[in-house]
């Protein structure tokens, strides 16, 4: 199935076409399930003035945080950016713009973007700064605000297992924003831990059907833990 073989051989190839000023949607929650090597490739490329749509912005020195070091990010669209001293510094210095978006609204904006729904109503954020300037409308006597969907020039995604066709399965809570991000990129690039043969993934257990995916690369991952909490074994 030559036309459906989406595996690329290098990270340079995986991120080919990314240009200054583009919008990149990234999967991951905190440092869990982030496309860490695709992010590193963006740093290596030195692409600038990026708008990054991601629930968080990594930490100092890991994840999206490394794109702050050379000031590659112009704007973040996120629900929470509090884990990152460099972020704070650039924000206060006016070098970085941030559009804070409620977590559920952010997830739904990505899904809607991928699903051809340009806008939807939600009660989330009504009466708060998030609702300012947005249309308010009542349904069944309750006010809702209008939120528009998000699409990206690129989406960067981390999955567990994948096949050449781009069918993907995520592992545990590393799923998070990845499935929605995968649908919302004009070019969707996925890095996976394990390449399997087409047919190995049970069709009805595939989280992301390959139709959403343009490029697949097999990577190895550090998977840094942000809050290491353990209990004693007994």
């Amino acid at each position: 199935m030559a036309g459906f073989d989406k595996v690329v051989g290098s990270y340079a190839e995986a991120m080919a076409g990314l240009e200054d000023g583009m919008t990149v949607i990234a999967g991951g929650f905190g440092l869990c399930g982030i496309p860490e090597n695709l992010i590193a490739e963006i740093k290596r490329k030195g692409t600038r003035d990026l708008t990054i749509v991601s629930n968080n912005c990594g930490v100092d020195g890991f994840g999206l945080g490394i794109l702050l070091e050379d000031r590659q990010i112009k704007k973040m669209v996120s629900s929470y950016v509090g884990e990152n001293a460099l972020f704070e510094q650039q924000l206060l210095a006016g070098e970085l713009e941030v559009e804070l978006t409620p977590q559920g609204t952010l997830a739904e904006k990505m899904r809607a973007g991928g699903a051809g729904i340009p806008a939807f109503y939600t009660a989330t954020g009504y009466g708060t700064p998030v609702g300012e300037g947005k249309e308010v409308r009542e349904f069944n006597g309750r006010p809702y605000i209008l939120e528009e969907s998000i699409r990206g020039d690129f989406a960067i995604v981390k999955a567990w297992k994948g096949d050449r066709y781009g069918n993907l399965v995520y592992r545990h809570t590393a799923q998070n924003f990845n499935p929605m991000a995968a649908t919302a990129g004009k070019i969707t690039v996925v890095e996976i831990e394990q390449l399997v043969e087409p047919g190995e993934l049970e069709p009805s257990q595939i989280h992301t059907p390959g139709i959403y995916v343009d490029r697949v690369i097999v990577g190895s991952f550090e998977k840094r833990i942000e809050q290491r909490t353990v209990r004693s074994a007994n």
Binding site: F29, G30, L31, C32, G33, N55, S78, S79, Y80, V81, G82, E83, E88, L91, L92, V98, L100, P102, Q103, G104, T105, L106, A107, E108, M110, R111, T122, A123, T124, G125, Y126, G127, T128, P129, V130, W160, R171, H172, T173, A174, Q175, N176, F177, N178, P179, M180, H207, K223, R224, I225, E226, Q227, R228, T229, V230, R231, S232, A233
Partner: protein, 218 residues
């Protein structure tokens, strides 16, 4: 004596019912999981995509791909499910979670809540809090009744930017359990040894005080 963090969690835990799906915010709300009454089962929802959150992992169980909404490593109970953030907030926004517990800076008599932003201080973001308060019918806010400087956090009108409008009905503070209805606070219980006068003094919004205000029992 004002309630300790553990006592706050214990009082909130009395709002639990068998079979409840519950979302617990970071901080004191998280402690509520330690006080689920004997013989009662609840299932914890973590908004990053986990229904059926278990305890922290042992060293052997530790897995970077298994975290909660506070980004802590966790485990899953038997019968848990794991899903995307869109599915997680479909549950939350759609009103499927039975009880949500979260902290706040301020609440007011209109049921407004402010919990995410103090102008002039660095804004870190609302995370899932706005979705949680907009989606849940049954929310318990837990916080101290007044600031360290004695300023009431139960106000006629929130002074800080809101997290949600008109969505809070129950508040457990270190001094009292208060309900919100008809544009007023309604004093329902007081912490052991706390006088009604002290609660009245530390409540800036209109507070309805019944003849008898029972003491919480622990």
């Amino acid at each position: 004596m004002s309630l300790s963090r553990e006592q706050l969690a214990m009082r909130v835990a009395r709002e639990l019912q068998d079979g409840y799906y519950v979302n617990l915010g970071i901080g004191i709300p998280t402690l509520v999981a330690n006080y689920v009454p004997e013989g009662m089962n609840v299932m914890l929802q973590s908004e990053n995509g986990l229904l059926g959150m278990g305890p922290f992992p042992t060293e052997q169980q530790l897995d970077a791909d298994m975290i909660n909404a506070g980004k802590q490593t966790v485990t899953a109970v038997q019968g848990a499910s794991i899903f995307s953030s869109a599915e997680s907030f479909a549950m939350i926004r759609g009103g499927h979670v039975d009880l949500t517990v979260l902290g706040a800076f301020e609440v007011d008599v209109h049921g407004n809540i402010a919990s995410w932003m103090i102008p002039g201080k660095l804004i870190k973001g609302m995370g899932g809090a706005m979705d949680l308060v907009a989606g849940a019918d049954n929310i318990v806010v837990t916080m101290t009744h007044a600031s360290k400087h004695g300023e009431s956090k139960l106000l006629p009108q929130c002074s800080l930017p809101l997290t949600g409008a008109g969505c809070i009905k129950k508040v457990v503070t270190d001094l009292a359990y208060v309900e919100i209805a008809d544009g007023k606070f309604w004093l329902k219980e007081r912490a052991p040894g706390i006088s009604v006068d002290e609660i009245v003094a530390k409540t800036a919004g209109e507070l309805v005080v019944p003849e008898v205000v029972p003491e919480m029992e622990f």
